[in-house]
């Protein structure tokens, strides 16, 4: 399990030949459009501060062009920041020397790409060993480890196929196996599932969640899809025009959208799958005979289903230690599922 989070502090990125020159103007409040029109530079990221939790999935969400790819590429410094820091294990990635950075990329991070970026001249196995090969690990050992992950993502039997003999979903399984074989604590996934069909996409999300259950890596997952964000993200940060407009858990964002932009974003969300029983329960358990018992982490959809099935309008909530901690009425469940919470 990964024991360190990633701290992104005061990160700015201005694209263009003299980005540093405009940093003060941007700090002083110059907008992206103004910077572009007056100086021909593009504001990629503006004052990003995110504390990405260790061993959890941090989702970064935003519309096209909001700076998601730019942000994730700062974590392994595929893009140089204009100012700011990305701290991991007490070390600032942005200050690392060339060789430190190379070692950091080899041993601490692995990345999965939207367009897969597999090596077309190598087989599935040849692609999967790539990270270990770069690290200088012996061929046999590398293959042994790679086979395990090829198996884990469900590609057994395809070891000798070339990427262009595989469907998109299978290619991304290779991408995932390649990243996992690296055995790095940080997994960077830039719209890793965006190019896949909805069904295959859900499949891959399940694969990822299963693996994460076991490995507890620090995953940074980029998406522009809210459902995906809510399903995968332990925490979600929403970007707009290079700025973080809100961050928190999925529930926090759905229950208390910070502004109209986000409210619009979450309009179509299936709230029953996002809001949990613990969030809306009354803190007092009901005395006497109550047939239905729920767990605080159950989603409202599940709660409604169970209560409807039992034809009950009341339920008690019991936590994992076996203690009764609250209660819930069907009306409250239905209300929370259909109306936007006011804030």
């Amino acid at each position: 399990m990964a024991s360190h989070g990633i701290e992104i502090k005061n990160l700015f990125k201005i694209f263009g030949p003299r980005g540093k020159k405009y940093i003060d103007a941007v700090m002083g409040g110059m907008s992206k459009t103004e910077l572009n029109e007056k100086h021909g530079h593009v504001l990629g990221l503006k004052d990003i501060n995110i504390s990405m939790p260790a061993g959890q999935i941090q989702v970064v969400m935003g519309l096209s062009g909001s700076g998601k790819s730019t942000l994730i590429r700062h974590i392994n410094r595929l893009i140089e920041p204009t100012t700011g820091s990305v701290v991991y294990e007490g070390q600032d990635v942005c200050q690392m020397s060339k060789s430190q950075l190379q070692a950091f990329r080899r041993h601490k991070t692995a990345m999965v790409f939207q367009k897969f970026a597999l090596l077309p001249h190598r087989t599935v196995l040849g692609n999967t060993v790539y990270g270990l090969e770069v690290q200088g690990i012996g061929k046999d050992e590398a293959k042994r480890r790679a086979r395990r992950w090829i198996d884990r993502v469900g590609l057994t039997g395809f070891e000798d196929h070339y990427p262009n003999q595989l469907s998109g979903g299978m290619q991304q399984r290779v991408g995932l196996a390649r990243a996992l074989t690296n055995d790095a604590d940080i997994l960077l996934m830039d719209e890793a599932f965006s190019a896949l069909d909805p069904l295959i996409r859900t499949d891959m999300q399940t694969v990822l969640l299963d693996i994460q259950e076991e490995l507890k890596k620090t995953i940074v997952f980029i998406t522009h899809d809210l459902d995906e964000a809510l399903r995968l993200g332990d925490r979600i940060a929403i970007l707009r025009d290079g700025e973080v407009v809100q961050q928190g858990t999925g529930q926090e964002i759905v229950l208390k959208p910070a502004d109209a932009y986000i409210a619009d974003f979450i309009k179509e969300v299936n709230r029953g799958r996002v809001i949990s029983v613990g969030t809306i329960m009354e803190p007092t358990p009901i005395e006497g005979d109550v047939i239905v018992e729920l767990k605080p982490e159950d989603m409202l959809e599940v709660a409604a289903q169970v209560m409807a099935q039992q034809e009950e309008i009341r339920a008690n909530v019991r936590d994992n230690t076996g203690k009764l901690i609250g209660s819930l009425r069907l009306k409250a469940v239905v209300d929370a599922m259909v109306t936007a919470a006011t804030h």
Partner: protein, 295 residues
């Protein structure tokens, strides 16, 4: 008014002095370093001679078998092997076997040297835009300047013989492989390079695991063109005293022997076709992974 009717050129004596000065300087340079230059190329001469003797000295059936085996290994095409054997037998029957071996030796060695020199230069060119800006015009000059022009300094430097002939061929034939190595590396998908970077690949690792393998089809096209251009140069090389099919063509031109000219000319064409088809098929086979495209 005379400015309009007569070009304001250098005076005749000035021009003569100008040319004399440069020629003189070059000759002085050769006088001083000529021996050194010649010694420098000695190993090349020995190698080429050795290789020629090897090809000519090997009994023809063995030579034929070796060539057929190479063509088979390269192309895996039975038709091509049969065609190769048939045309070589015909060439031999028409009395051109030995000359064919000389020509084969020259083009093989020239191509090898072009590959050894050309690929590193191409890599260098792909690594930096400045290098590309410097090398591109040099390649343009090498390909367009009439061969006879650079024959002059070569002859002054090295006289007449195999090595000067070889150098003339290389100057003409090396640009395609440099250009296509450069192009091939520059055309590599940046997304794949980014992936290699993300995994912490060093520049050398990127070159050998990503750039070179993906540039290979283009590099191969370059090798192919280089071979063709080397073959096209054998007649010019014969002006420098290189023996082989080219020299026979030259003789035919000087004496107006139509049949001799065509026989040797067509023998060169036959070798060119064999080289071309074999190397193309070999290049294609190297690209096994690009054959099956998933829909």
């Amino acid at each position: 008014m005379s400015l309009f009717t007569e070009f304001p050129d250098m005076s005749r004596s000035e021009l003569r002095d100008f040319k004399k000065a440069i020629d003189g300087a070059f000759k002085d340079f050769i006088h001083a370093y000529g021996q050194g230059i010649e010694d420098f190329f000695k190993p090349l001469l020995y190698f080429l001679k050795w290789f020629e003797n090897l090809l000519v000295g090997t009994p023809w059936p063995i030579m034929l078998a070796i060539v057929a085996a190479l063509v088979w290994f390269g192309s895996r095409s039975l038709w091509l092997v049969l065609g190769t054997v048939a045309s070589m037998l015909l060439i031999g029957y028409l009395g051109m076997w030995e000359n064919m071996m000389y020509t084969l030796a020259l083009t093989t060695v020239a191509t090898l040297i072009c590959i050894i020199l050309g690929i590193p230069v191409g890599i260098l060119m792909a690594k930096s835009n400045r290098m590309q800006a410097i090398i591109t015009p040099i390649l343009d000059i090498m390909q367009t300047i009439p061969a006879f022009v650079y024959l002059i300094p070569i002859v002054i430097m090295l006289g007449i013989g195999l090595v000067p002939g070889l150098i003339a061929v290389i100057i003409y034939a090396v640009p395609p492989i440099i250009r296509l190595t450069n192009l091939g590396i520059r055309l590599v998908d940046p997304d794949i390079l980014e992936a290699a970077d993300a995994f912490g690949a060093s520049p050398g690792q990127k070159l050998w695991t990503v750039q070179m393998p993906l540039a290979l089809p283009n590099i191969f096209a370059g090798v192919n063109q280089t071979i063709m251009m080397a073959l096209a140069m054998v007649v010019v090389a014969s002006l420098l005293g290189v023996h082989g099919l080219g020299l026979e063509v030259l003789k035919a031109v000087n004496n107006q022997y139509i049949t001799l000219g065509f026989m040797n000319g067509l023998a060169i064409v036959a070798i060119a076709i064999i080289f071309d088809r074999t190397s193309q098929r070999f290049g294609k086979r190297l690209q096994k992974h690009s054959e099956v495209i998933h829909g």
